[in-house]
């Protein structure tokens, strides 16, 4: 389902330590390009309708921004303008919050839970019906490979709505000993790395628990949220239950600081998360924050190496590395470091970086010019910090923001490229000798979102896993997501969980 599953066919005879039999093909290099060339296989965008401009979706209809300001949404793979997006000022946000409040009081909170659930089921179905359109739009607007938007983002978005729809009338079973009450109006601010999927993570549990919503997509990826607004309208969802306002940081700030908001749900960078937590200090607003990460991916000597290589690739290059839970720090046990690094580099060379709409593409475009520059700065920084850089040699498209898969070795724990979230296809590699050294290095950042463990030993998985300060532990796998599975961080990676039963807590008062 993702760029590279851990069960890839190449490594069934994978071996790692010398005690195991070696496959006769163990040292064969992965070499696809010498045997054949890939013909391009672009997904057609002919029937995808993107309007020349979009207003805000408030109280069930698209309306123009009060102050009339707009900005362009760019296709990062071509640098061409896709559409004009409205910028919401405090006036627009105020309208949206009032619409959400009215809808909450008059309609949504009085609706029987069973009926509420049916609307959410309807939304899930409509996402499935429009999945092709949504997937292509997502790839055009955000730069992610069509294979990913088609097979991961959009189906998972539908799955989240389907999962939470079922909770609407079963909340009594979710909180033993307490009764769950809805909060009111939720202000939700989402990032650009998984635009529609993050919207689903936010809106589905909020609606299921009986709240109404004002959501702001990221300014570079608003289009699928606005297409979702059309789904809300077409599904007959009562007006004002879901409101979508578009804009950048100032719009987000207007939502956070609005007095009519009962709860803030934010996914984005840790620095903005801190600003939000500070802004709502002294108020009764509830909040969940899903912030940055610097996930450690730990490979032990007894791991299946080829399987681990696939997992490492998936951990850091999935979605161009624009993943808060990416496995961006590779920790390899010393004995296999040389062999693994060699295999990893070979595998990196096979990755196809290019047109997001091409079905062959593994790595699409960096989401925006600003992010492209940020990643480039970190790559320069890595060199300046004295790390050794390896980048793949394959060709890149002429236009658009593309970044080669990048590996830094010879780094130390205190290097900024090891401590700070780069949010791009950039991996650092460190080695360790003992499990306790691995744990210490893995936990030695302010973050705590995800970690990976690669080993053949179950006991080691449980031991290392329980010592990870991270909300998600992927053992012999990486970057898997599911609506039933809670997600969220320890430490500075955030507060609260999204997904699963635990994802209901942040949207209710328990009485």
């Amino acid at each position: 389902m993702s760029t590279s599953d851990q069960n890839s066919s190449v490594e069934t005879n994978a071996t790692s330590s010398s005690s195991k039999p070696e496959s006769p093909n163990a040292d064969l290099k992965l070499d696809f390009a010498s045997f054949w060339d890939y013909s391009s296989a672009p997904e057609s965008s002919d029937n995808v309708e993107i309007k020349p401009s979009y207003g805000h979706f408030i109280n069930g209809e698209f309306i123009n921004p009060v102050k009339g300001r707009t900005f362009s949404s760019i296709n990062p793979a071509t640098e061409k303008v896709l559409t004009e997006i409205s910028e919401a000022t405090t006036e627009d946000v105020d309208k949206a919050v009032k619409a959400a409040r009215t809808a909450y009081n008059k309609r949504w909170s009085t609706l029987p839970a069973k009926e509420r659930g049916k609307y959410i089921f309807r939304i899930a179905r409509m996402i499935q019906e429009r999945s092709r359109d949504l997937a292509i739009t997502e790839s055009m607007d955000g730069g992610k490979p069509i294979r990913e938007s088609r097979d991961v983002d959009v189906p998972l978005a539908a799955a989240y709505f389907f999962y939470y729809a079922g909770w609407a009338d079963k909340l009594d079973y979710a909180f033993p000993g307490r009764k769950a009450e809805s909060l009111g109006v939720c202000g939700q601010i989402i990032p650009w790395n998984f635009p529609l999927l993050m919207l689903a993570w936010k809106i589905a549990p909020a609606l299921a628990t009986g709240n109404t919503v004002v959501l702001k997509p990221a300014e570079t990826t608003s289009i699928t949220a606005l297409k979702f607004a059309e789904i809300c309208r077409d599904s007959g969802l009562p007006d004002g239950v879901v409101n979508i306002v578009t804009g950048a940081g100032q719009t987000g700030s207007a939502i956070v600081n609005h007095n009519g908001i009962d709860k803030i749900a934010f996914t984005g960078s840790t620095s903005v998360g801190k600003i939000i937590q500070k802004s709502i200090a002294g108020t009764d607003k509830k909040y969940t924050l899903e912030l940055g990460g610097k996930g450690a991916n730990i490979v032990f000597e007894d791991a299946s190496i080829d399987q681990a290589v696939e997992g490492i690739i998936n951990a850091i290059f999935f979605n161009q590395g624009h993943v808060c839970c990416a496995g961006s720090r590779l920790l390899v046990q010393e004995g296999i470091a040389g062999k693994l690094t060699k295999k990893l580099k070979e595998r990196m060379e096979t990755l196809i970086v290019g047109d997001p709409l091409d079905k062959n593409t593994d790595i699409g475009a960096i989401n925006s010019k600003a992010q492209f520059e940020r990643i480039s700065e970190y790559i320069e920084l890595g060199k300046a910090e004295g790390a050794e850089i390896y980048q793949t040699k394959n060709g890149l498209p002429e236009n658009g923001y593309f970044c080669r898969p990048t590996l830094f070795s010879g780094v130390s724990q205190s290097n900024r490229i090891v401590q700070e979230e780069i949010f791009g296809p950039v991996l650092t590699i460190q080695t360790f000798r003992t499990p306790s050294e691995a744990v210490e290095k893995a936990n030695n950042t302010p973050y705590g979102l995800s970690s990976g463990i690669w080993t053949d030993r179950g006991s080691k998985i449980f031991n290392i896993g329980s010592n990870m300060d991270s909300g998600v532990v992927w053992a012999n796998t990486f970057n898997k997501f599911d609506p039933t599975s809670p997600f969220g961080g320890y430490k500075e990676s955030g507060v609260g969980r999204e997904g699963g039963l635990h994802g209901l807590y942040p949207y209710v008062n328990l009485v």
Binding site: L289, L291, T477, T484, S485, K491, E492, V495
Partner: protein
């Protein structure tokens, strides 16, 4: 009345399983209603908060890795020890002008509350953990784990019951605690430290400082190694300050407002859950 001169107790702090005085040597005089000085209490400051924090952090991993059963037994042991010292706590509260009947009730409730949470340690992950039926071929489960080190700001009233009601869920869940005692009624907190010391609670799991809360709260809430703040101080400005400081490193924070500490709904597994992190583990299913 005999001619014997009473031995007056020196009230110190409880940090890292020992009873140090405040680093600065400062104290404040505690008087009863009639104006008589009844004790000199340590007035802890920033350095004491930092020292206690080091102890709380050092104890965290060991406490977290105790079995849930063992943590439950230790909480039960605290209750046992307190039961045997009811009279001491009662007379101490009377010294601070708390009526005997109220004191008695609060002490008994404190004991019961400890037992309530002792019983939760090995049930919380059964009730609030899940096995998640993911659509892909993976085994996936979520369990609660302690948040880490939690700063507890105890209420001014209910010197023992308030402190116990806040401490018990925090440590039952495997966290370690740094507690700022009631500054109005600090004596029970200090004596409770002695109970903890006699109850197999590993040193550093609970640390109790006395002093002016306003002086210590800014340092406690801004300390970058504190993972959570559990606050019963009701001052609006203080609360805002705590919230702002918590934003420095995304601390979890819970405020308790006008709690009826004697009410049975103060006993709740959700108080444990307030300082738990859900950890989700995935593993492929295959051959």
């Amino acid at each position: 009345m005999s001619n014997r001169i009473d031995i007056l107790k020196t009230y110190k702090t409880y940090v890292g399983g020992a009873f140090p005085r405040s680093e600065s040597g400062h104290t404040y005089a505690l008087s009863n209603k009639s104006g008589k000085t009844i004790a000199n209490v340590c007035r802890c400051t920033r350095k004491d908060v930092r020292d206690a924090m080091v102890k709380a952090r050092a104890a965290q991993n060991g406490w977290k890795n105790r079995s849930a059963y063992n943590r439950g037994q230790i909480l039960y042991r605290i209750a046992e020890m307190l039961e045997g010292r009811k009279d001491q706590f009662e007379s101490e509260m009377e010294l601070m002008d708390i009526k005997k009947k109220i004191a008695r009730k609060n002490i008994e409730l404190s004991i019961d509350r400890l037992i309530y949470y002792a019983g939760w340690t090995d049930k919380i992950s059964q009730v609030y953990g899940t096995v998640n039926p993911v659509a892909s071929s993976h085994f996936n489960f979520s369990i609660p784990e302690p948040t880490g080190v939690v700063g507890v700001i105890a209420p001014q009233e209910f010197p023992l019951l308030g402190l116990v009601s806040m401490m018990a869920p925090v440590i039952a869940g495997g966290n370690t605690a740094l507690i700022l005692a009631s500054e109005k009624y600090p004596l029970s907190a200090v004596s409770f430290g002695e109970v903890l010391h006699a109850s197999d609670v590993p040193g550093g799991v609970v640390n109790i400082l006395t002093g002016y809360q306003n002086e210590m709260i800014p340092h406690l809430s801004s300390h970058l190694d504190v993972n959570g703040v559990y606050n019963a101080n009701s001052d609006k400005d203080i609360r805002k300050l705590i919230d702002e400081n918590c934003a420095l490193n995304i601390k979890r924070r819970q405020h308790i407002t006008d709690a009826e500490w004697t009410d049975s709904n103060q006993e709740s597994p959700y108080h444990i859950m307030d300082f738990q992190e859900i950890k989700t583990t995935w593993h492929p299913i295959g051959v």
